[in-house]
Assembly symmetry: C2
Homo-oligomer: 408 residues x 2
């Protein structure tokens, strides 16, 4: 029961010249489920990515980093069901075997393939079934394969997540299309999901790397569902260079800005879609903290609220038990915070000031806002001019049910 | 449904000479519920405490710190229902009014009374009802009032928590008796609860302060239910000095050690009782991390496991989805951790080594341990000789239900 999140209309997912997408059912964990996606990139495409900082990162993440450092990328292979994390040397060999098989089928070097996995940790990847399904996925390759691929990368997601937009770069129309998966084990640095975004814009490798890092900071690194950082987070941006624009080679200027803004907006939409479809989510919560000395302390306060199980269960109950928000801020570790100067709003309702409940606050106003499916918590720390926004969802019985049953 | 936790037998709660305990029903939030406890200390008693580090700490916590700094303590007044936190200047005045009323009834100075509150944040303390019930609580004062007081300080607790023990100090029998409350909003630094422990031992103020800090580190600061740090945490140790032992004035030697060990053992029992009665708990989990470079990183890894909602829901489901434990360790922020050297056990079952599932691991062994009501997760970081242990519980539907309904 995702919050205000509809499946994308395939008609509104624009093809990206030079990028073909296919999918298949490999039976990784369950027979008949779409669980394999392949991206084929035209020669000359560029790719850049950011990955989980989990020290127990998955084998495919290690291989991705290695292959991205080598140069040109020609294909991405994504499976769900098994994360190929906590699989040791055998897991690395499995990820390399997938690359080799895809390379053979597509006609490129194994180092030009990036592997991605998501699913259960600590179980071996059924690499034979995956490789056996590769021909079907490759046969299905199409510039219009995005909607199917968005489905093929889902795990506990209830709604496929895909977005497109067009923007003019140097007077040429440029397309950006992306898909993402993620619903649980969602936590920033690196946001806990897979996301693949492609554009036909021509950009230099250095600019592409700058763009992907910048887009992650303002989108996937601003969301949390449960504070758990996955072993497999990956966000990759592909640029096929087919749009005919003058190559963007400097991280400044109008073309760079137009591309940066469009890419970040799309990444924010995908990131918010992950939260809207957060495991068991019934509410979409925006936490905006302003008046901090720096962005880091604003994020610290915002994530303290967004991670608090007590705050999240109060949202689930539509209970304006708002002292829990104050307590979360107070415990966020901002050592010299003056609690008496804080102000807290629920949408437009001033809840707390001067260390206590606002004189104007009425329980019925709080209750009214808490009933909405989308709520903004605004906090003024009143000690500076920095601000930060994060997005999260509530904590419901659905979360417990999904995660108590996930493997079964 | 607390995990292996029975209510204390009143016969096994030993009186502490010089300390009388009373209770009453003040109707703070609900009529007829025991919600007020009073401790009266004989002249010459000493007290020391540690308190929440939440910047939004409650008014009574501020007053406690102030009064403890002044000197002799003659009474403690504890209410449940309303936390008197996030109540601004009015809350401070309310806490002082409670002290003044208790002082008048007992015959001491207001600065000799310590106030404590626990319950809903951001609501005004119904100070008139509280003060009106003080005479009844004072009339009930008795050296055998501990069991009733343990009930009177409960909020979402399902089982009262009280323990006693006797130890010889300098050849004299010394009694230590304590009570605690807490079930949710439980997180270390400071552990999120109220605990009051009294002894008849004679100890200097400096030694008492050392004892209370030391006992907190190894007990209440080693537990978590939900990672939320409360606004009202307080752990106070009272020493009435009536046991007739030679006053312990140095933080070393056999007498100090005997007292330290006994007090810490009692604090650990109370802390574990809080986790056993954690909101919705169905499992009691010990997380023991060894082989760290220092205690701090062992605690970091242990709390990463203990806080992870995914780990906690897997315990609830009795599902040996043990990759979640590895992922939590990997994301705990130990920057140079070598995941391939880690080893993880579930009780005696080796689960992971060499970056993956142990060759000897069998799913049925993991499933067998996961079904137990008490489970130990042991982790060897294999990079040093430090170790740390923390205690937590699982995350169940009960937790969500309790916290979605708490105010209603």
């Amino acid at each position: 029961m995702a919050v205000n999140l509809a499946a994308p209309d395939p008609q509104e997912l624009f093809a990206v010249a030079g990028v073909r997408v296919g999918h298949a059912s490999a039976g990784i964990r369950k027979a008949g489920r779409k669980d394999l996606a392949v991206f084929e990139l035209a020669p000359g495409s560029r790719a850049a990515g950011v990955f989980t900082r989990n020290r127990f990162c998955a084998a495919p993440v290690r291989v991705c980093r290695e292959h991205l450092a080598r140069g040109e990328v020609r294909a991405l292979v994504v499976n769900t069901g098994v994360a190929n994390a906590g699989t040791g040397a055998a897991g690395l060999a499995d990820a390399r075997a997938v690359c080799a098989a895809a390379a053979g089928a597509i006609g490129c070097a194994p180092e030009q393939v990036l592997p991605f996995s998501t699913g259960v940790i600590l179980e071996p990847l059924p690499v034979d079934r995956l490789i056996a399904a590769l021909p079907a996925a490759i046969a299905a390759l199409s510039e219009t394969g995005w909607a199917d691929a968005a489905q093929a990368i889902m795990t506990t997601d209830t709604v496929p997540k895909a977005r497109s937009r067009r923007v003019a770069i140097g007077g040429r129309p440029v397309t950006i299309t992306g898909i993402a998966k993620g619903a649980g084990m969602i936590h920033p640095d690196m946001a806990t999901m897979l996301a693949f975004v492609a554009t036909d814009a021509a950009v230099s490798q250095a600019v592409l790397e700058r763009l992907v890092r910048g887009a992650a900071v303002g989108s996937f690194n601003c969301i949390t569902v449960d504070g758990d950082t996955s072993t497999n987070d990956s966000f990759v941006v592909i640029a096929s260079g087919r749009a005919g624009n003058a190559e963007v080679i400097e991280p400044e200027g109008a073309d760079f800005e137009a591309l940066r803004v469009a890419l970040e907006a799309l990444a924010v939409e995908l990131a918010q879609a992950i939260v809207r479809d957060g495991e068991g989510a019934t509410k979409f919560i925006t936490v905006a903290v302003e008046g901090g000395r720096d962005i880091a302390e604003c994020r610290r306060a915002a994530f303290a609220i967004a991670h608090s199980p007590l705050v999240k269960t109060a949202f689930f109950a539509s209970d304006p038990n708002l002292g829990r928000i104050l307590s979360a801020i107070g415990a966020s570790g901002i050592a010299d915070l003056e609690a008496d100067r804080l102000r807290v709003w629920l949408d437009e309702v001033l809840v707390a000031e001067r260390g206590g409940r606002a004189a104007s606050y009425r329980e019925e106003d709080g209750a009214r806002v808490m009933k909405q499916p989308e709520i903004t918590v605004r906090v003024d720390l009143a000690r500076g001019s920095a601000q930060a926004t994060v997005w999260t969802c509530d904590l419901s019985h659905g979360y417990v049910t999904i995660n108590a049953d996930y493997r079964s």
